[in-house]
């Protein structure tokens, strides 16, 4: 039996990335994610990889672009203000179809905001945070184990679709320690050789170009349609969510990441009190589990959405099930304390009885 480790979420995502074959990391220090570069700067040299503490977030995302265009599995990590700086590079990566992993251990904003846990980067993450109307894959782990597992999944999805992938978490998931069962990475069978990547392999007459500039008549439109066709495929094939006690649920609670963990206890307490409540936890925030919301509200169930912000994912829930009664309860970034299961339970009771 593999030994269970006891590690922080931040360390777990770094461990998962290295296990997935990531050998290039570029980043810049920012709280509360600095455990990631600290761990990788220690471990990467042992694996023969490269760690660069870049001069800025802007430089690190562009180093990631260069490494990705060169065919490597590579990553960066940051927290909200730093992720804002990376948006330029993320847009270019999306435009030039460069895969890669971006970890956002979200903190509260806007501006310098604060360092406490927040989910206020949801819109930025899932709606295309930079210019140009693109999407990236967004995964929302809710445990230390998932931080590890989803680092691998993120690389696989990113490589499969040539779409950048983000792991969106916060200080709760990043700073929390839990048991972790490490396991060997196995690459999916369907991952193709990156024949588009620049490897300097000396084949004359087969120029490879990684670019996002399309000035020819109709070229850019075709390119954008191509990108959005990939998003449509992902919407069918790559949606992931967790359902807890949904079968007979009259009220469907929804939350992701840290908030989902708090909600899990609240839902258990509600069940103990005889309320028919379930939890639908989106794991892929993009592609969003629209169909799951349709399925689990088809008998007239109500939905209650918890977030650590003033209401963001709830908009995607409402778009998924426009005729469903969807309520929202959230905490503004910087509340200073986290919501508790008891607090969520009160909300559940109110909406359940309403």
């Amino acid at each position: 039996m593999t030994k269970r480790l006891f590690v922080k979420g931040n360390e777990a995502v770094a461990m998962g990335a290295l296990e997935a074959g990531c050998r290039y990391y570029f980043g810049y220090p920012i709280t509360p994610q600095s455990d990631i570069p600290e761990y990788i700067s220690r471990e990467m040299p042992k694996l023969g990889g490269q760690f660069i503490q870049a001069e800025s977030e802007v430089a690190s995302i562009n180093m990631l672009l260069g490494a990705s265009a060169s065919g490597a599995r590579a990553m960066t990590s940051s927290s909200s203000p730093g992720i804002s700086l990376k948006q330029e590079g993320i847009s270019y990566m999306a435009g030039s179809e460069c895969p890669g992993l971006i970890v956002n251990i979200c903190r509260s904003g806007p501006g310098l905001g604060g360092i406490d846990a927040s989910q206020a980067d949801y819109f930025q993450s899932v709606k295309g945070g930079g210019h140009g109307g693109y999407h990236i894959i967004v995964l929302a782990p809710d445990s230390v184990q998932e931080m590890y597992d989803m680092a691998m999944l993120a690389f696989d999805l990113s490589d499969r679709y040539r779409v950048p992938a983000m792991i969106l978490a916060d200080a709760v998931i990043g700073q929390m320690k839990e048991g972790l069962t490490p396991h060997s990475y196995v690459a999916p069978d369907d991952l193709e050789v990156k024949d588009w990547a620049l490897i300097g392999d000396g084949k004359a007459g087969e120029q490879k170009v990684v670019k996002s500039l399309y000035l020819g008549d109709g070229e850019l439109e075709a390119h954008n349609n191509h990108l959005h066709a990939k998003y449509a495929v992902m919407q069918v094939k790559e949606v992931r969510y967790e359902g807890v006690e949904l079968d007979d649920a009259e009220l469907v609670v929804t939350a992701y990441g840290s908030t989902a963990r708090i909600a899990k206890t609240a839902v258990r307490l509600a069940r103990e009190q005889g309320m028919k409540v379930g939890l639908l936890r989106p794991i892929t925030l993009f592609p969003f589990p629209k169909a799951a919301f349709k399925e689990h509200t088809s008998a007239g169930q109500k939905v209650l959405c918890f977030e650590l912000n003033n209401g963001q994912m709830v908009e995607d829930v409402r778009l998924s099930v426009p005729r469903t009664d969807v309520s929202f309860y959230g905490r503004a970034p910087g509340a200073g304390s986290l919501p508790t299961p008891e607090e969520f339970l009160d909300q559940i009771r109110t909406h359940y009885e309403a």
Binding site: R4, F6, P32, G114, I115, D116, A117, S143, A171, V172, Q175, M176, K177, E178, G179, R261, I262, A263, K264, T265, A266, R268, G336, S337, L338, P339, T340, P341, E342, E343
Partner: protein, 184 residues
């Protein structure tokens, strides 16, 4: 099994260490645990706090509003967190630093433990945390003292292993104190 405990004191009292230790020992016993250190604003003013949630199934919320148990090591922690302890729960109070006559809460179990004096008696004032942890596991039985010892070996860097006997002594002294207190 489903337990949670909130630990609070000032920085330097070793709160985060015993939080880690308890969660790790739980995992060594084959159960699940989350260790969540207070973060951000709550960290200000030199306070050290953490929440440990332990379960034989998967752990839900790592955040707890009304903990089943609280280990309160200094007056400020008492001030801030004592009232949050769940009705019917348990508070372990470091009576070396905290005065409490028991009138504030009658709906919970209390144990006053003179942890500073006990630590000095063993020979090192820094053992306050281990004494308190020993008392807590004796009361709650969430893990065995042996598992804590096992976990400590892994949590402490090799170069500090010479301090293991002293820490073991402190864990046992805390456990013994708790046994005596509830026996009488």
């Amino acid at each position: 099994m489903n337990h949670d405990v909130y630990m609070a004191g000032f920085g330097g009292q070793g709160i985060l260490l015993i939080g880690n230790l308890l969660a790790y020992a739980t995992i060594l016993e084959g159960n699940q645990a989350s260790y969540f250190p207070a973060y951000g604003v709550e960290k200000r003013g030199g306070a050290a706090t953490c929440t440990i949630v332990m379960s034989d199934k998967s752990v839900g919320s790592p955040v707890v509003g009304e903990p089943e148990a609280a280990l309160l090591l200094n007056p400020l922690s008492m001030e801030k967190y004592y009232s949050h302890v769940r009705s019917g729960g348990f508070a372990l109070i470091n009576s070396s630093l905290i005065d409490d006559d028991g009138s504030r809460r009658t709906d919970i179990k209390r144990l006053l433990i003179p942890a500073n004096e006990m630590a000095l008696a063993i020979g090192d004032s820094r053992l306050v945390n281990m004494i308190v942890l020993g008392a807590y596991v004796e009361y709650s039985k969430v893990v065995s003292v042996d598992s804590l010892k096992e976990a400590l070996k892994e949590v402490l860097p090799e170069r500090n292993h010479r301090f293991l006997p002293m820490n073991h002594q402190a864990l046992e002294a805390g456990a013994e104190f708790c046994r005596q207190a509830f026996a009488s």
